[in-house]
């Protein structure tokens, strides 16, 4: 069991290393209020190019639906205040006409 635990810890350490398989650090979101909150929350589970490629055809209602889906269906731990910040940022920077 101890050997197993050591192996698992070693594996955990490796998994904790940067997960980037390709250079996603090259993805830069537009500057604007809320960008860091978007990067931290959305970027916890997926690279931020998901936002860029889904632009600029979504209006506020659709961006809100995406954020709600991430929270309710995918279990993202985002509180109400951050959720609002994220929807506002996405609508302004990557929404229709953005």
């Amino acid at each position: 069991m101890r050997a197993m635990a050591t192996l698992l810890l070693a594996a955990a350490a490796l998994l904790a290393a940067p997960a980037a398989k390709a250079d996603e650090t090259a993805v830069t979101l537009k500057d604007g209020a809320g960008r860091d909150i978007v990067a931290a929350n959305c970027g916890a589970c997926h690279s931020l190019d998901y936002i860029q490629m889904n632009a600029p055809f979504m209006a506020e209602k659709q961006w809100e639906a995406e954020v709600v889906k991430m929270i309710n269906a995918f279990g993202a731990d985002i509180d109400a205040a951050n959720a609002k910040t994220i929807v506002d940022y996405l609508t302004r920077q990557y929404g229709q006409g953005g």
């Binding site: 998994l15 589970c45 889904n54 995918f74």
Partner: protein, 412 residues
């Protein structure tokens, strides 16, 4: 992290080394501008890039994490898609980076089976009759990027698909060993990849028993005569010829017969189409509602692979058009080409038949008598009378887009 590893352990691979070899930790190689189709959301043109994942040729990167990379159109000018150019599609970003195939186990059982056992790769290869089949693996959302209006999701162009010769054991033979009970209604399959967060629903799918027992449904351990690439589900993935790739579970670790319809998120909420809106034959009965149903078979479709868009030709000189056509496994019966915006159509010549689940090559010699700009379209039909849609059948997830795409050429 602990929970994540515990989950893997429960799946029987906890002790398998998860260490990432340098090969897979390396950065993708950046290359030239990606060959994107027209008509995608504007954002794609700024964010997509042509990059090589370890072991792959440069493909069109749509998202880094989870990795979603599509095959450039030039690779479809042949009926079999090379392994290193085959598209990559993941839903969730926790992907085991190195898999010790010698210790790989698939758990087989469930309440709908009389026996449960673990299946290793050697037994899968040697204990069951090997079967080879050429089949198209196409993402349900292939061509989502052309939806009008656009819909959220990975904004695929034409390359979230490929055709390979798969080799493996029949799922039905493995299920026979498990002793499928008559109460079984669905077969639930899971792969080793999973979510980053514990709360995110793991990607788990089910098949109706009748489709699982189809003689063409395989557990594949080889692809085009080689081992499966890591990014395409090594060491074993499910092959469900005729049906969209959502059922083709990668990194397969579990096969479970159940006596009630499976209620996981990826069946109940995702990968669904409006009931009755598409002209399809096969339905997943135990998962249907009045409003919607799971996506099942691929709709008939075609692609012009040559010449390239914007090709310049001389009036009166023949242009050789080439392409491929495919469907849900009924067999392509005809491909037609139009150069006048769909007013008149002319039969193309069908090429070698690689089987009813494979890409069917076709060609057509086109001579434009007068200079001008032309839009060339191709449309396919199959043995059960299905044809490509004249106009987009809109659905919120952007599935089943088989509208003929115009190829612009210039004749001088």
């Amino acid at each position: 992290m602990t929970a994540l590893l515990a989950r893997r352990h429960m799946l029987g691979i906890g002790a398998v080394t998860l260490a990432a070899p340098a090969l897979l930790r390396g950065r993708a190689l950046a290359a030239a501008a990606p060959p994107l189709s027209t008509g995608l959301p504007d954002g794609v043109y700024g964010s997509a890039s042509l990059e090589a994942l370890p072991g792959k040729k440069p493909l069109i990167k749509l998202s880094y994490r989870p990795p979603n990379y599509e095959t450039p159109i030039s690779y479809f000018d042949q009926a079999i898609t090379p392994n290193d150019a085959f598209f990559v599609r993941y839903h969730l970003a926790d992907i085991p980076e190195m898999i010790d195939a010698g210790r790989w186990k698939i758990k087989v059982g469930g309440e709908g089976a009389s026996n449960s056992f673990e299946l290793g790769l050697d037994e899968l290869r040697n204990g069951f009759e090997p079967v080879e089949i050429a089949a198209v693996c196409q993402c349900s959302g292939n061509r989502r990027g052309f939806s009008a209006p656009h819909v959220p999701g990975v904004q695929w162009g034409v390359g979230a698909m490929g055709c390979a010769v798969w080799k493996g054991a029949r799922l039905k033979d493995v299920l026979a060993k498990a002793g499928l009970r008559k109460e079984a209604v669905e077969i639930v399959v899971d792969g080793a990849d999973g979510p980053v967060l514990d709360k995110t629903p793991d990607f788990v799918k089910s098949l109706p028993v009748w489709k699982a027992l189809d003689e063409n449904t395989l557990i594949a351990y080889a692809m085009n005569g080689a081992l499966l690439p890591h990014w395409n589900g090594a060491p074993v993935r499910l092959i469900v010829p005729g049906w969209t790739a959502t059922y083709w579970m990668k990194h397969l670790v579990s096969i479970e017969a159940v006596t009630k319809p499976f209620t996981g998120f990826w069946m109940k909420s995702a990968y669904r189409i409006p009931t009755g809106k598409f002209p399809i034959v096969q339905h997943f009965e135990s998962q249907m509602t009045e409003a919607n149903e799971p996506i099942t078979e691929m709709v008939v479709n075609s692609l012009i692979t040559a010449p390239a868009p914007g090709h310049k030709a001389r009036a009166g000189t023949a242009i050789e058009l080439r392409g491929i056509a495919w469907d849900g496994g009924y067999g392509i019966s005809r491909v037609e080409v139009s150069s006048d915006g769909g007013k008149t159509w002319h039969a193309a010549s069908l090429g070698a038949d690689g089987g009813r689940f494979a890409f069917r090559p076709w060609r057509f010699r086109l001579t434009a008598p007068r200079p001008g700009s032309y839009e060339i379209r191709a449309r396919a039909g199959n043995a059960v009378g299905q044809t490509q849609a004249d106009a987009l059948i809109f659905n919120p997830a952007g599935y089943h887009n088989n509208v003929a795409r115009p190829l612009p050429i210039v004749v001088a």
